[in-house]
């Protein structure tokens, strides 16, 4: 138990580290509130060098420049949205890790809902098809007689072990 707790806390430390010390100490703002906002903005901006990392997580020199730029504009009193717009104006909506809803991202935004709806409809149809399968009609007199005959022969062969095995 102790080892589990210890390793858990170690792992937490690792991630905590990554989250808090993303920016170099010399880039960080003195005001912790502003710095927290800067990190929040940075986490929403894609590093254009590494593509799948945010500028807050990236070691690329350009990401560092952008982190500093974000902090400068924050210190100048700009709003979070204005800073995101400023960067997106220069590098395109592509740098926003959460893409805005616009013409070329509609498919991206609507596809999950559309797929869910489609699968829902398909599932309902299939399930309904199963439960409303036509009720079994009662056996006709001929069928009942044939069944009785079959059951009789089956019972007969059952008594004969050798035949049943064959």
């Amino acid at each position: 138990m102790r080892t589990i707790l210890l390793s858990l806390s170690l792992v937490t430390c690792l991630f905590w580290n990554a989250a808090v010390h993303a920016a170099d100490p010399d880039e960080r703002l003195a005001d912790p509130l502003l710095e927290a906002r800067a990190q929040e903005i940075g986490a929403q901006l894609r590093c254009v060098v590494c593509k799948s990392q945010s500028i807050e997580a990236s070691d690329a020199p350009l990401a560092r420049d952008l982190r500093i730029l974000v902090r400068e504009r924050l210190s100048a009193g700009e709003s979070d949205a204005a800073i995101l717009d400023y960067v997106a104006e220069r590098y395109g909506a592509y740098v926003l890790l959460k893409p805005p809803v616009q013409g070329n991202t509609l498919v991206l935004w609507l596809a999950p809902a559309a797929l869910l709806l489609l699968c829902g409809i398909a599932a309902t149809l299939v399930l309904r098809g199963r439960t409303t399968s036509p009720a079994v009609a009662p056996l006709s007199a001929d069928e009942a007689a044939a069944l009785a005959a079959l059951e009789k022969t089956a019972a007969d062969t059952d008594t004969n072990g050798a035949d049943a095995a064959r």
């Binding site: 254009v48 593509k51 420049d65 952008l66 104006e89 220069r90 590098y91 395109g92």
Partner: protein, 181 residues
């Protein structure tokens, strides 16, 4: 009808397959420039060490020009450099340089050793002008028309083929459009 339903997974697989096959042929690092047909950002840069003239956005007006982003630290720029020298020698359009994030003096020293193809060079030590241009890496080259609008962005080194088949014809077209005589 039921039978057809059994082919649905195959159909889905084919659709997804075609989609991903097309995806494989595309360049994942390609990022469209936000500046195409928009006026180049305004800037005013001081000269690099040992030079007297810097570069400003006013220099990009009055004729078709090329703006090349380089740095002494940039390996691909080394490969591109001979092509830039021959472009400068051809003299189709002035070639301006943006010395991106270089240490003081490093850019000048680099050019001294390899030759200087640039009509004017601006020192973008903190990289702010490059960010205004949406630069993602060096080298990058912008084709700027006579009104100072960005018309094309080339990412990566200019090869002799790209110069001959893309950039040079584009520059000549722009020059002819400006001056139909």
């Amino acid at each position: 009808m039921r039978r057809l339903l059994y082919f649905a997974p195959l159909a889905l697989f084919l659709i997804a397959g075609v989609y991903f096959a097309i995806g494989l042929t595309r360049n994942p690092t390609y990022m469209p420039s936000m500046l195409i047909d928009a006026p180049a950002p305004t800037f005013e840069l001081s000269p690099i060490e040992g030079y007297t003239e810097g570069l400003s956005s006013a220099d990009l007006q009055g004729g078709v020009s090329l703006l090349n982003v380089f740095g002494s630290w940039c390996v691909s720029c080394e490969i591109e450099h001979p092509v830039l020298l021959s472009i400068a020698a051809e003299g189709v359009a002035p070639l301006y340089g943006l010395d991106w994030k270089d240490k003081p003096g490093a850019g000048a020293q680099w050019l001294q050793r390899r030759g200087d193809p640039y009509a004017k060079i601006g020192d973008d030590a903190d990289g702010r002008v490059a960010i205004d241009f949406g630069v993602t890496g060096a080298p990058e080259t912008f084709v700027i028309d006579a009104e100072g609008r960005v018309r094309h962005k080339h990412v990566g080194p200019i090869t002799p083929e790209i110069w001959a088949t893309v950039l040079k014809p584009m520059i000549e077209d722009l020059q002819n459009a400006d001056d139909p005589s």
